[in-house]
């Protein structure tokens, strides 16, 4: 039972044509008919032989439509990898913070297996794989439809004016002196702690002062003035943001130089001003702190041996402020010294 020659040709052409874009189908069909009949005439070969020579119709169609056997080609691969890295790291960080929060607010969770299995493992895994899939799908679609996306990756210093001009070897900065280097690790630790501090301030200020009542229950007696928190919080957030910015500038620059020095001085001075504002001007402390403590824990602080006997808003403010000013000044001094001594 042999197929008719024409029937075989039509089948072949159909198998090619149905896989190419609609607009090109008719013309490709004509082209193939011309080709196959030419081959028959001039080679005197049988249809089967000719079609075998032309090869798998799927491959033929693939060459016509110019599609490749890959999901994401070299044009997008760099951007894809970079986006993926950013996504994976930020997702992990987000989960880490949320896990810490949950554990802090309900320490009981730590004793439950489901917490580790569901919250820690499965949820994180779902976010990571889901995001991975979405991002990959997105880039695969870009590739497929040849979407020309110029993802401006702000890897480093993208905002600076000199970056706008073309790169030349002359712009290579000198290798910094060993002592002038700012280590990435230090900056990252700084950024993570500042971020955590900021998040806690915004979402859970009471946690700073949770005090264990002893009978396995947690009571929150805050030394902060939560009544005025709507005035205090913005100042604290600005403070955190400035500190964060300074750390990021250090991380991106990677060395002590004029830019880092200016950033450190400016952020240091602003932080001192904000601290004075917070501790000396705004009603920062809870005026009823000691009394609330006494009520909460059913005790009376009268003895000189109790630490809290010495609790005094003004005194605590002064001690804190002195500490903040000293540390900030020390940071500024170190930066100025290193910049002048080793920087460029």
């Amino acid at each position: 039972m042999t197929m008719e020659k024409n029937e075989m040709m039509e089948r072949y052409i159909y198998e090619v044509v149905r896989r190419v874009p609609k607009k090109q189908r008719e013309e490709i069909r004509l082209e193939l008919e011309e080709l196959i009949s030419d081959m028959m005439e001039q080679k005197g070969a049988g249809m089967e032989e000719i079609l075998t020579k032309l090869g798998d119709p799927r491959e033929f169609a693939q060459k016509y439509s110019g599609r490749h056997n890959y999901l994401i080609g070299p044009e997008y691969y760099g951007d894809y990898c970079w986006m993926m890295k950013v996504f994976l790291i930020s997702t992990l960080a987000f989960h880490l913070v949320s896990i810490i929060f949950q554990a802090v607010f309900s320490p009981g969770l730590l004793l439950q297996v489901s917490f580790y299995v569901e919250t820690v493992f499965i949820n994180t895994l779902i976010s990571l794989t889901g995001g991975f899939g979405l991002l990959t799908l997105m880039f695969a679609l870009f590739e497929r439809y040849n979407v020309r996306v110029q993802i401006k990756i702000t890897k480093e210093k993208d905002w600076s004016v000199e970056k706008l001009k073309a790169w030349t070897p002359a712009k290579l900065p000198p290798v910094p002196d060993e002592k002038a280097r700012i280590h990435r690790g230090d900056c990252i630790v700084g950024i993570v702690f500042t971020l955590l501090f900021g998040l806690l301030l915004i979402f859970a200020p009471e946690w700073f002062v949770s005090i264990n009542a002893g009978n396995k229950s947690w009571k929150f007696v805050s030394p902060f003035n939560h009544g005025a928190w709507n005035v205090i919080l913005p100042v604290l957030v600005i403070d955190v943001a400035i500190e964060l910015m300074n750390e990021i500038i250090k991380l991106m620059t990677g060395r002590y130089c004029q830019k880092v020095m200016i950033s450190q001085i400016l952020s240091g001075i602003t932080e001192i001003i904000l601290s004075v504002l917070l501790l000396k001007v705004l009603p920062f402390w809870n005026p009823n702190f000691v009394r609330e403590l006494e009520e909460a824990f059913e005790l009376k602080i009268t003895s000189r041996t109790d630490l809290l006997f010495y609790w005094n808003d003004g005194l605590v403010s002064n001690i804190l402020l002195t500490g903040i000013v000293l540390i900030t000044l020390a940071e500024i001094c170190v930066t100025v010294y290193k910049t002048c001594r080793y920087g460029d």
Binding site: M39, E59, F60, K63
Partner: protein, 112 residues
């Protein structure tokens, strides 16, 4: 052994792929239809797979290097391709490049 053969085949394919467009452009100063092009290349010792050539012709046309025309006067409709003005320019340019590449390769290979 078969692995070596596979590597060899892939390398050969890569090598040929680079010369494909230049070979095709060289033959299309005067209009030719697809299968005539296959034959004229084959006669001159340049083997090209038909299922590579046809899509390639389309691509070159899309890039503006070739222009095609259906001729319906004969026994059956035929599609003729020839170089455009831009195609001529690109061809001359590529030809020069090829000459210098082949000269340099010659020198490299003679060293051994």
């Amino acid at each position: 052994m078969s692995e070596k053969k596979e590597i060899m085949e892939n390398l050969l394919l890569e090598l040929r792929r680079g010369t494909l467009i230049l070979s095709v452009l060289s033959q299309l100063q005067t209009p030719k239809y697809g299968y005539a092009l296959v034959q004229s290349l084959e006669e001159k010792g340049v083997a090209i797979e038909t299922n590579t050539l046809y899509p390639l012709l389309r691509r070159l046309e899309k890039q503006g290097l070739l222009i095609s025309e259906w001729e319906t006067g004969g026994a059956k409709p035929r599609k003729y391709y020839r170089r455009t003005e831009a195609g001529n320019e690109v061809y001359e340019n590529l030809k020069e490049q090829w000459k210098s590449i082949s000269e340099n390769m010659e020198k490299l290979l003679e060293e051994n």
